[in-house]
């Protein structure tokens, strides 16, 4: 009798251990599917690909990048919220886009709250630039010219309802001027128009500023403090304009992804952000690293929702 009991206990405990270990089997064990919602060669693609290599090292599995492009990211985001929450499908997300699209469009296919941020790892501030041969030498020149010729200055930027677009609107409001914003499909379309003299100024990202610093005169950067990779560029705040804007980029998950898996990925991102090689690479390209875990990202998003809502109301859109 005792022997039987012993055997049964042994079998039961082995079973428990077996199930327990498979439940706690190391996540992730399969390749991770990383969706990029924007065109290849763009900022979101480059930051994702730079991160990919290091994520693979930290997580120990392949990270496979796939594209779901369209609608300013909306196609990808709407697929993300319907994706399998088993932890093997994540997507890059752009903070401004995921907030503004549901506000400004009738049916983008998702709600802002459905997108669960895992980690927000980088921030690219806006910059305002003119060509090196332009008559406009400083931000004050710009504002002065704009006041004298309302609507005459054309400012190119990437997209509609993006940090470039809203940045142009926010700055117009701050400075009390009126410029004409011209949306392009991606920075890659905006820059040639700028270089060729077809638009007067560019409200673009620091990454473009770093790449084209020979051809651009950057009037100001829309960050809280000066950025290390553009040390000679004053901030808008320094020059008296309370204008801070840029794109936050991070990793996001489908709405029902389990918290423990989210935390594992968040920790991986945090580790990647500490790797000196990654830091150097991102800074070299003009991307600033930030660290917002899942809870802090959600808080950031909520703050920005209120902020953007008020701007849209000012403009009469909603």
């Amino acid at each position: 009798m005792r022997k039987k009991l012993l055997i049964i206990t042994l079998i039961l405990s082995l079973t428990v251990v077996f199930f327990a270990s498979s439940a706690f089997a190391e996540y992730p064990e399969k390749p991770l599917n990383y969706i990029v919602c924007f065109n290849p060669g763009g900022e979101s693609d480059i930051t994702a690909r730079t991160q990919q290599k290091f994520l693979e090292e930290v997580l120990g599995v392949d990270v496979v990048i796939s594209y779901k492009i369209g609608g300013g990211g909306a196609v990808g985001f709407s697929e993300l919220v319907k994706a399998n929450p088993n932890g093997y499908t994540v997507s890059g997300y752009n903070l401004t886009n995921i907030i503004l699209q549901p506000l400004a469009r009738e049916n983008p296919g998702y709600e802002t709250k459905q997108i669960k941020p895992i980690y927000t790892f980088e921030f690219t501030p806006d910059i305002l630039a003119v060509r090196k041969d332009s008559d406009i030498k400083t931000l004050d020149d710009f504002v002065k010219y704009a006041k004298e010729h309302p609507g005459a200055i054309t400012v190119g930027g990437s997209g509609t309802y993006t940090p470039n677009h809203l940045g142009a609107l926010e700055f117009d409001k701050e400075a009390g001027i009126k410029t004409t914003y011209i949306p392009f499909t991606g920075s890659g379309e905006a820059v040639p128009s700028f270089l060729g003299g077809h638009v007067t100024a560019l409200m673009t990202y620091t990454s473009m500023g770093v790449q084209y610093r020979e051809e651009m005169r950057i009037l100001a950067v829309a960050a809280e403090e000066r950025v290390s990779y553009l040390p000679n560029v004053p901030t808008f705040k320094e020059l008296g304009y309370n204008y801070v804007e840029g794109q936050y980029r991070g990793l996001a998950a489908p709405p029902d992804m389990p918290k423990d898996k989210v935390d594992i990925l968040a920790e991986a991102c945090r580790e990647v952000n500490q790797i000196p090689e990654f830091q150097a690479k991102m800074e070299e390209m003009g991307f600033e690293l930030v660290d917002y875990g899942p809870e802090k990202s959600t808080k950031l998003i909520d703050e920005k929702i209120d902020f953007y809502k008020s701007i849209l109301e000012d403009l009469g859109i909603t």
Binding site: G41, G71, V75, S78, V191, S193
Partner: protein
């Protein structure tokens, strides 16, 4: 500089690089030949693998795949009337009729000669004219892009073959469906029937397959018995080879002109191979001594389109390397690869420590095109044999299967496949009503370019008293307007002149 050129050339010739280039060219050709996989996708697929290679090897592999893919599109265009990539749309116009006449082998070989040759001319232009060309490319602003698309649409007149009115209507239909999605300016979500997947618009590949391939497949399915007669290959191997060579080089004007058109159109960012092949075709048609033969199996048409589209490959690299601006979608991906390797496009790429890599990349296109030629001849014979001998009853479902896979692979969205099939049914309808698919697809391609040019140009004109004047007061715009008008009026002048000659002769 000469020293750099020589050392770069030497750097390419390692066993490893040559092997990778052969692999690249072959893989590219296969990918390009499969309807649904485009050059952009092929490049996107290979780029991650190149991160672990050293820069020169990585870049020459990418270049080889790019060349191969653009060339590979010709195979499916010629053999099953499906442009394997959008740059081979024009190749179907004369390539497929040639296949139906039993001259598929000749068409494929002609395409091989033309592609390799066009690529070589393109490489020469890339190496020697990069900097001046890129400066000219920058001068193209939104109003110019608008006029380019209008010019492109007037080409419809030659593609519509029988009815100009139907051609324009088809083009307008293409423009209509190009508007589905998010408005480039304004951000409105338009014509999506409430479905989020349509925010990305109607995919070009879906419509390409739908309008070119599916109708043919359906017709094949409905005419199985009739087909049994025409599988005989009419010419022997060496003769075909020689004839194809003659097709390209005996009329050098067509070949050289098409290559130059291809390279130059490639330099203009955003224009790309999709349009270049049609512009070259149009020019070949216009300058030909017997234009009526175009569209019925005239090899000149194949030469024009294939030379142009391969020259575009090198042309589109020009703005990429000089300015960091992609000339065509695959270049956007190469841009990402360059950035990740730490190679920043711009003047420093040509003179700094990375100059060797840059020149190696450019020079590698010579080798890639030659390798492509060899693989093309060897493979072309085999592929042609396979496709023409496999009975339609096996071909049709298999090809439809591949197109389903291909349309799904665009962006992993089942809607693209559904659109492809529904587009196919509409394409069948159009075909029976004698609406040529070319204008429809052209409208779809040019729609966004035209709209962006129009609206942005209008916005740019805000500084002027009458904003619309901006479209008529810029030098390049004026040149384009003149070209467009010429293109529209030319058929009438030609008719009058021909009639006059006939009267004079009689």
């Amino acid at each position: 500089m000469l020293y750099t050129v020589l050392t770069s050339f030497a750097a390419i010739f390692t066993i490893k690089n040559i092997l990778f280039m052969i692999f690249g060219v072959t893989a590219g050709m296969i990918a390009g030949g499969l309807p649904g996989l485009t050059a952009t996708m092929s490049v996107a697929l290979i780029v991650p693998f190149t991160f672990t290679m050293d820069p020169i090897t990585g870049l020459v592999t990418i270049g080889a795949i790019y060349c191969g893919a653009v060339f590979g599109g010709a195979f499916s265009a010629i053999l099953v009337n499906t442009p394997g990539t959008p740059s081979s749309i024009g190749t179907t116009f004369d390539g497929y009729p040639m296949t139906k006449q039993g001259k598929g082998q000749e068409a494929v070989f002609t395409a091989t000669f033309a592609s390799a040759g066009g690529g070589l001319i393109g490489t020469v232009i890339l190496i020697f004219l990069s900097v001046p060309l890129s400066r000219v490319a920058l001068k193209f602003g939104s109003p110019e892009y608008f006029w380019i698309s209008i010019f492109g649409l007037t080409i419809i007149a030659s593609l519509a073959s029988k009815s100009v009115l139907k051609g324009f209507a088809g083009g307008l239909f293409g423009l209509l469906i190009s508007m589905v999605g998010v408005a480039p300016i304004g951000g409105d979500v338009r014509f999506t029937l409430g479905m989020p997947s349509f925010q990305g618009g109607i995919q070009l590949i879906s419509i390409l397959i739908g309008f070119f391939c599916i109708p043919e497949m359906l017709k094949m399915a409905g005419n199985l018995k009739k087909h049994k007669m025409k599988t005989v290959e009419m010419q022997s191997g060496i003769d075909v080879f020689k004839k194809s060579f003659m097709n390209v080089f005996k009329k050098p004007v067509n070949f050289i002109r098409s290559s130059i058109i291809g390279a130059f159109v490639g330099v203009i960012p955003g224009a790309g191979g999709n349009i270049a092949n049609l512009v070259a075709y149009n020019e070949a048609h216009r300058s030909s001594s017997n234009p009526e033969s175009f569209g019925k199996g005239n090899p000149e048409g194949v030469v024009a389109t294939e030379a142009a589209n391969n020259a575009t490959v090198e042309g589109s690299v020009v703005p990429l390397l000089t300015l960091g601006i992609p000339g065509a979608p695959p270049d956007a991906i190469i841009y990402g690869a360059l950035m990740l390797q730490g190679l920043r496009p711009g003047p420093e790429l040509f003179s700094g420590p990375n100059a060797k890599i840059t020149y190696a990349f450019m020079l590698s296109f010579f080798i890639a095109n030659l390798l492509m030629f060899v693989v093309g001849i060897l493979g072309g014979k085999a592929i042609n044999k396979i496709v023409t001998s496999v009975g339609h009853k096996y071909l049709v479902p298999s090809i439809i299967f591949m197109t389903i896979l291909g349309s799904y692979a665009i962006r992993n969205n089942i809607m693209d496949v559904i659109v492809m099939l529904v587009g196919g049914f509409i394409g069948y309808l159009f075909k029976e009503l004698n609406f040529h698919p070319g204008p429809v697809v052209l409208g779809l391609i040019l729609g966004p370019i035209a709209e962006k040019g129009l609206v942005r140009g209008y916005l740019m004109g805000q500084a002027l008293p009458v904003p619309w004047m901006i479209f008529f007061t810029r030098p390049i715009s004026i040149i384009l307007i003149v070209l467009t008008l010429f293109s529209v009026i030319w058929p009438f002048i030609k008719n009058k002149r021909d009639a006059k000659n006939e009267r004079g002769a009689a």
